[in-house]
Amino acid sequence: MTTGERTYDIVIVGSGAGGGTVAQELSPLCRQGLRIAVLEKGPRLRDEEFTGRELEMAGALYEDGGGFLTADGAMTIAFGCAYGGSTVVYTGTSMLPPERVIRRWDVPGLTHADLDCRARKFMAENNAHLVEDGLINENNKLFVEGCRKLNYDVQQFPVNIKGCRGSSLCNLGCPNQAKQGTDRVQLPRAERNGVEVVTRCQALRVGEKTLAVRVAAKPAGAKGDPSPWEPGDYQIEAKIIVLCAGAVNTPALLLRSGMGRSLPRLGYGFTSHPAFIIVGEHAHPITNFVGHPKSYYVDQFAESEHFVLETCMYFPFITAKSLAGFGEPHSAFMRAFPRLQMILVLACDEADGYNRVGIDKAGRPVVHYRFQHEAIRGLIRGAITSAKILFAAGAVRVHMPVARDTTIEARDAARLEEIEAAAEFQPGKVPVSAAHPQGGCGMGSGPSNSVTDSYGRVHGLPWLYVADASLFPNSLEINPYVTIMALADRVAQRIREEVPALL
C-alpha cells in the first residue's frame, strides 16, 4: 500500500447533489490558481457500463448494493455510492423546497425566499420540466385516473431529463444518460474548470485542516474506471474541507474523527422517508416497465396524516423484496408483473431524540432507527389510501403489506376501513426501505442545538463545512435533491466570501 501526501486549497468529500454543486460553484476559483479536489468513495462508470441489469447495477452504484441496514435490521436505506452520488440513482424528480417546512425548520439566517431562488436556478440548469403526455405510461395514467375519481389533488413531478427514451431504469442509473444528475451537469463542468475528481477514495478521518483517506483498488470484474490515484492511504492537507458524503456518511466521518464531544448534536436529528410499495393487479397488461417511472404524486396528506404517495415501478428482485410474505400469494403477484400498477407510500417522520447516526467499533456508520408512531400511522393510512386509488383505477386485487391476509380482492374494496382498523405493522415483518436520508449535522444557532450554522460551517471550526442532506434540521417531507443543491449553493457562496481569510 502506498502512503502518499497531497495538498489542496479546498477538498470536497462526496460528489452527489451537495458535492457536485459545491464543486461547480467553487470551480471558477481554479482559474485564480486554487487547487480543488473532489473525493468520491464510489466508482466512475463509463456510459456503456450502465446496462440496466438489476443486481449488477445495484452492486455498482449503491452503498451496500442498496441494502444498507439500520442497526436493528428492520429497515434498509438506499443511497448512492458513485461519481454523482445518489443523483445517479434517483428518478430525477425535482421539487422546490416547501415554504411551510423551511419556516418550521426555523434556522436563524435561512429564509425560504433565498432557498427558493437558488433552487430555481438548479431546476433550470438541470432541465427540470414536466414530461409530455405522450410519454406517460399507463402505470402513471391509472394513478391519475384513480386519484381524480377520489378527488385527490394529484400533481405531476417536474423531472430533470434530457433525451429520455423511457427505459424506466432510472433507479439503476440511466442507460441513456438522460438524467441530469451531478454526474452529467455539475461535475463535468467543475472538471472542465480544473477541479480534480478522485474516485474510489474514502475519507477516513478529518483532522485540523487535514484528511486521512484510503484509495481502493478496482476489484476484479467490477464496473468503473480505476481511481486516478494509486491504491493506498493518503494524508491530505487542505485549507478548507467541505463534507458532502450524505446524511449517513458525513456524521459518521465526523464522529470517527472524534468530534462528537464538542458537537453533542452530531448524528442526531436523523430522518428519512420510510417507504413501501402497494401493488394493484389489473385484468389486462399495462405499460409499466417502459416510460419514466415516477411522474405523479399526492402530497395533500403530508401534514395531516404523515404520508406522501408517488407512482413508481421497480425491478423483479426489488419488487419481490418489497412485497410482504412469501409462497403462493407472493408468487401470484410476481407472475402478474406486466399487469401490475405500483404506488410508493412514503411516511414523513420527524427528528426525535432517538433516531441518529452513530459508528461501530470499527468506525463504520450505524443508523439507530425506531419507527415513530406517526410514521407507522402514515404507512398504514398511505397503504389504505393507495388501495382505494388502485381499486378506483380498476385493479382486480391489491397487495396490502400491513393486512393479515396480504391479498385484497376488488369485491372487498368496501372493507378497506375495516382492514385498516385491523392492520398491523411489525418491524422486520413488513418490508420497509427508506429513501432520502436526512439530518445528523443539522443547522442552527450553536453547538447546543446544531452542528453547523445556516451556511453549513461547523461550529467552532471555520475551515470545515457541510453541504449535503445532513444539514436538514428536520424532515424536508419531499424529494430532497433540489433543496440539497440550494443549500450547497449557499455554502459555496460563503466559502467564496471567506476564501481570502481562510487561504
Binding site: G67, G73, S167, L169, N176, T287, F289, P316, G327, Q426
Partner: protein
C-alpha cells in the same frame, strides 16, 4: 462458499419462499446460488454466520413440533414453519427471516430467466423496444 454445506436445506427453504424454485433444474440452482454468493461476498462475516445459523435453526426447530426436520416436512407444514418465524413476537427472529427471505428472492428473481418468466422486459431502448 454456499450458505449451508447441505444444499438440501437451502433448497427446501427457497422452494417454500418461492414455490417456482422447486421446478429449477441443476443449472437453475447453480445460477441461483451464484447470485446469492455474489450478493453475500462483500457482506460482513458475522452476517453470513447469522444466516447460516438461522438456516440450521429452520432445519431443526420443526423436530420439536413435527418430529422431523424441515427438509422432511410436506410443503404445507414448511409454509407454517416459515409463517411462524415471519410473525414471531421477537423482532430479531422476524428480521432474521426477512434477511433469509431477501437472499432467496435475490437469488431467484435476480436471474434473467426469472425476469423473463414473469414477463418483465424492460429495455434501455424504452418505448422504442415496445414498438
Amino acid at each position: 462458499m454456499p450458505l449451508d454445506p447441505d444444499p438440501a436445506i437451502f433448497r427446501a427453504v427457497a422452494s417454500a419462499i418461492v414455490p417456482e424454485a422447486a421446478a429449477l433444474d441443476e443449472q437453475g440452482w447453480h445460477d441461483l446460488n451464484q447470485v446469492v454468493e455474489a450478493l453475500l461476498r462483500d457482506r460482513p462475516e458475522s452476517l453470513k454466520r447469522q444466516l447460516r445459523i438461522f438456516l440450521r435453526a429452520i432445519q431443526w426447530l420443526p423436530v420439536v413440533r413435527y418430529g422431523r426436520p424441515f427438509t422432511r416436512l410436506h410443503p404445507a407444514a414448511r409454509q407454517r414453519v416459515l409463517a411462524h418465524l415471519q410473525n414471531d413476537r421477537i423482532q430479531k427472529v422476524r428480521v432474521g427471516f426477512c434477511g433469509l427471505r431477501t437472499i432467496v428472492l435475490a437469488g431467484y428473481y435476480g436471474r434473467r430467466q426469472a425476469a423473463q418468466a414473469i414477463g418483465y422486459a424492460a429495455s434501455p431502448r424504452g418505448w422504442e423496444a415496445l414498438r
